[in-house]
Subunit: 155 residues, 2 copies
Amino acid sequence: MALDADAVVAELAARGLRLTRQRRAVVDAVAASRSCLSPLDVFQQARASCPDLGLTTVYRTLELLDEIGALRRIHGPSGCERLVPASAEHGHSVVCSACGRVTEFTDCDMAVVLAAASRETGYRITGHFLQLSGLCAECGAAPDRGRPARRRAKA
Amino acid sequence: MALDADAVVAELAARGLRLTRQRRAVVDAVAASRSCLSPLDVFQQARASCPDLGLTTVYRTLELLDEIGALRRIHGPSGCERLVPASAEHGHSVVCSACGRVTEFTDCDMAVVLAAASRETGYRITGHFLQLSGLCAECGAAPDRGRPARRRAKA
DNA sequence: CCTGAAAGTGAAAACCGTTTTCAAGAGGAG
DNA sequence: CTCCTCTTGAAAACGGTTTTCACTTTCAGG
């Protein structure tokens, strides 16, 4: 599901839930982002438009959005998770290693790869998680301009 | 790098480090595993052969093995990381959704997919993380026998 | 309008996996 | 043996996430 307010409202309504001012702020913050966010990032962003927002609510709302399928998870090489709005039904993410921007792509014809994997391992493959890294058009064109990718702790 | 004692010893020696009794226990525990382990799992396994092992040491050793490249990280759909011994230089994992077993495969010809993604997003792709899920030969043959996959908290 | 029930919220506390600190232990080089 | 460095375990510190709880908001029904 794409993460736009209308769709979210519809999904919420279908469950007898409400789109409150706070939830709205979280949805907007996530939807506006071009790169991956931690829950804390979302919290800080969303607070701009809803100063009395609590971190607890951010967590609760993110979980809600996740259930609805409006979020995509990004796995960093060294650990924890970050979130990104899902823009298509089935999509994968490409993360720019220079600026951290995340873009989705949908044209993934994995048939050949999956068949090979199945042949090699004997598994019946039912799902795949694919995440690419590289340089976005901007950073690729002018590598020096790219701000360094944000990092988690240890790195 | 494959995770066998000899290779580990060599790598450690190259860095002026030692293969202690404790490290040995951790290496063995990880190497013996067919499915993915949490640090705590490793701790408990390794304790069988080294009762005075401390959790701290497990963490330290796992980090070491990770640097050496002897571990592969597995990302569960709902969160945190688990570890699996790496058996090949470049490999990906297939996780059995019934029994949790993890197998590696190396035959991944992603050229076509990567080209498509690059075309669609404008990124210059430099790396990929691929993880498949499915049913291993055993569980696929007799689905009912498969113990349910271990889960993290919320599920 | 009321009113009551259910959804929603924020602050604080609880949790829990991981990392750091620290003093003690082990092992090779000289 | 002695020094020096690598290692180690327990306990404390940390930090992100979840739970608890009392209070607020919303809305349907009277």
